[in-house]
C-alpha cells in the first residue's frame, strides 16, 4: 500500500487509458497539424476571391469585397485563354499516362518474368538512370529534339514516355509483379497462353494497384511540369497550364496576383479530383509494392 502510493508521484499523474480521451487528443493534434499544413492552400483560395489590390494585404482569409473578377480576368488573360491551356495540359497528360502505363508495364513484365541474357546488368543500368539528375541530360536532350525538328510540338514531352524511360515506375511494377505467384503463370501456360496473353489476362488485372500508382504520379508530374513545356513549347497556342500561370508573374514589371491565385486554384482541382478517385488504388499500390 505504502510502496504504491510513493511510486505514483514519482511518475507523475497516472495516464488515462480511456480510449475516447486518447482518440480525442490524437484527433485534435492531427487536425491542428492539418490546419497548419492546409492553411497556405486555403489562403490561396481565399485570396483568389479578393480584389487584386487586396490580395497581398493580409495573412487572414476575410475581406468585405469578395469578387469573382479574378476568375473572369484570369481565364481570358494573356495571349489566349485558359480553356486552351487546360486542353493542352489534358492532352499532354493523357498521352503521357497512356505511354507510361504501356511501356513501363511491358518492360516490368520482361524484367520480372522473362529470362534473357544480361538481364541483371540491364536492370542495374535501368536503376542507375534514376541516379542521373535531370539537368545532366537537359542540354543534350534539347539539342537532340531540336535536330529532330520537334520544337513547338508535344513530341519531346510525350514520346519519351512511350519508350519506358521512367525507371522509377518500371521498378515499382517489377517489385509488384514479383510478388504475384508464379503458379498463376504456369496455370495460364498449361491453358495455352503465350507471354502476351499471360501479361494481358493474368498480370495486368492483378497489377491494378501498381498501374493506379503509376497513373497518378505520371498525372501529377506531367500536369505540374514546367521546365519541359518552357523549353519546347514557344507558341502560346501550345502552352500548358503551368506556362499560363507563369505569364501572370513578372518581377520586372507588373504581376497579376489575383488572377494567378484564381487560376492556380483551378489548376489544383484536377489533381485533387484525380487523387480522390484513385486514392484507394494508390494506397493499395504503395502498401503492396514494398515502397513504404
Amino acid at each position: 500500500m505504502t510502496t504504491v502510493s510513493i511510486a505514483r508521484p514519482l511518475f507523475g499523474r497516472r495516464r488515462t487509458r480511456n480510449p475516447m480521451v486518447l482518440g480525442l487528443v490524437r484527433h485534435v493534434l492531427l487536425i491542428a497539424v492539418l490546419i497548419v499544413m492546409l492553411y497556405p492552400v486555403v489562403w490561396m483560395v481565399a485570396a483568389s476571391f479578393r480584389p487584386s489590390a487586396e490580395v497581398m494585404n493580409s495573412l487572414g482569409l476575410f475581406s468585405k469585397n469578395y469578387t469573382l473578377d479574378n476568375y473572369k480576368q484570369g481565364w481570358s488573360a494573356g495571349q489566349l485563354n485558359f480553356s486552351r491551356y487546360f486542353l493542352n495540359s489534358i492532352v499532354i497528360t493523357t498521352l503521357s499516362i497512356a505511354g507510361n502505363l504501356f511501356s513501363c508495364s511491358l518492360t516490368a513484365y520482361a524484367f520480372a518474368r522473362l529470362e534473357f541474357p544480361f538481364k541483371r546488368v540491364l536492370f542495374g543500368l535501368l536503376l542507375a538512370t534514376m541516379l542521373l539528375p535531370y539537368h545532366v541530360t537537359l542540354v543534350p536532350q534539347y539539342i537532340l529534339f531540336n535536330e529532330l525538328a520537334w520544337m513547338n510540338t508535344y513530341l519531346p514531352l510525350v514520346v519519351p514516355k512511350w519508350l519506358g524511360v521512367e525507371a522509377f515506375f518500371i521498378f515499382l511494377m517489377v517489385q509488384f509483379i514479383r510478388t504475384l505467384p508464379r503458379e498463376l503463370d504456369d496455370a495460364a501456360r498449361i491453358d495455352g497462353c503465350g507471354h502476351w496473353r499471360t501479361f494481358i489476362r493474368i498480370i495486368m488485372p492483378l497489377a491494378l494497384p501498381a498501374l493506379g500508382t503509376t497513373a497518378l504520379f505520371t498525372f501529377i508530374n506531367s500536369w505540374n511540369d514546367f521546365l519541359g513545356p518552357l523549353l519546347y513549347l514557344n507558341r502560346p497556342e501550345l502552352w500548358t497550364v503551368s506556362l499560363g500561370l507563369n505569364s501572370f508573374l513578372d518581377v520586372t514589371g507588373e504581376s497579376a496576383f489575383g488572377s494567378l491565385f484564381a487560376m492556380s486554384t483551378l489548376a489544383l482541382a484536377p489533381i485533387v479530383g484525380f487523387f480522390l478517385v484513385s486514392q484507394k488504388l494508390l494506397i493499395e499500390g504503395v502498401a503492396t509494392t514494398g515502397l513504404k
Binding site: 531540336n146 505569364s247 513578372d250 520586372t252 514589371g253
Partner: protein, 442 residues
Amino acid sequence: MKRLGTAALALLMVAGCSGTSVGDPGGDSAAGGQDGKGEVKGGLQLTFWGGANRAAKTNAVADLFVKAHPGVTVDRQNADFGNYFNKLNIQASSKTLPCVMQLQGRQLNDYTKRKVLLPLDPMIESGAIKVDDIPKEVVDTGRGPDGKLYFLPYGAAYDAVGVNATLAEQAGVGLPPEGYDWKQYTDWMTRAQAKLPAGTFAAGARGSTPNYFIAYNLANGKQLFTDDGKLGFTKETLIEYWEMWEKLRKAGVTMSADSQADEPQSAEQGFIAQGRILTDSIPGNALTPASATLATKPGGQKLTTLPMPSGPEGSGNAMFTSGFAIPTNCDNVPTAAAFIDFFTNDLEAGKVFKSDNGAATNTKVLDAQLKDPALAPLKKHELELYAQIVAKKPPTILYPPGYQATFESAYSRAYEEVAFGKKTVQQAADAFFAEADAGLGG
C-alpha cells in the same frame, strides 16, 4: 541543309566578305552579312522576359513590324525573368539562340565571354541600325569589355529612392532636400524613425542591396569594377558603407534582419508597397504597381521616387538598360537588325510599347510619350525622373562575367551574415572579397 547554310555563312564571314545574301535552300529565311544589310524577309525568332502584360505590348510591336515588312513572320517566346535566363542558357549552350534576344548589361558579359553574340557596330555603320536619337551614355551601356556594342538598349531603367510621402508627412520630416547626400539621407531616416508609428521602420536592412552600394560608389567617384572584371573598390570602402547601415540597424532605424528576410519579391508586395517602411531603393518602373498596393492602405498612402543620394562626385544614379542582341548562330541577320531598329526607334512602336521596360532610350520616342495627354501621372513621373537622370550623363558600369551569379548573391549574403550577428563587418568584408576575387572576371 540548314547546317550547310550556316557553315557557308560562317565561311563567308571568315573570308571577310559581307555578302548580302547567301542562298539557303533549307529554310525560308534570308541570310545576310554582319553589317545587317540585305533583304528583310523570312522567319525571325524573338525572345524576351516578362509577363502577360508585357507580352501583349511586345506582340503588338511585332505585329506592326510584320505589317511594315510583308513576308516576314515573327515567332515569339517569353517567360518571366528568372526562367527566361534558364531557357536562354540552354539555348546558348545548344547554339539555338533566337535571332533577337533580350539582355541587360548585368548579364551581357556572361554571353560576350563565350562569344555567342554578334557585334552591332557594323550594322550601325551600314545604317541598318540607327542610334542617332539615343544619348551616347545610354548606347554605351550595351558595350562589352572589348568596346563593341552587343545589344542596343531600348529601355532604360534606373533605381530610385522610393519614399512613402504620406508617412514622411505624418512624421513631419518631409522629403529629403534636393541634391541630398548619404549623410542627409541617413539623418533624415533617423529623425523620421522617432515619429513613425509602431511597427513601421524608416528603411529595410538594406546593406544587402547591391544597387544601393553601386549608387554609393558612384556618388563617391569610386570605380566598381576594374577593366579586367575584378573588384574596383577597396575593402575599406565596403566596411565604411556597411558600418553606416549597421549603425542604423542597431539604433532601430532599419528593420531587423529576420523581419527583412520575410520580404516578398515583387513590386506589388515589397515592404515599401505594404507601407511597412518609409524609404527603399526601388526600380523606377515599380512606382506604378507599388503605389497601387499602397493606395489600398487605410487612408490611401502615396509613394514618390527621388534620384539616388549624391556625393562629392555627383549623382549616384546608374542606368540599367534592356535591349536586344543578335546571336552568332542567327541565320537571318538583316531581318533581326531591322527588327531591333524598329523596336527601338519607331515612333509608333514606342507608342504601343509605352516604355514598359524602362524609359524609351530614343529621345524622340520618349518626348512623344511625355507629350501624350493620356499618360498616367505616375508613369509620367517615372519618365521625367529618367530624363532628369540621363541629362546628368550618368557613368556606364561594365559588369564583369559572373556579376549576377557571383557578385550579387555573395554581396547580399555577406551583409546578411553581419545583420544576423554571425560575423563582424570586417569578417564579412574579408569573406566577400575572397569570394568575389575567385568568381568574377576571367
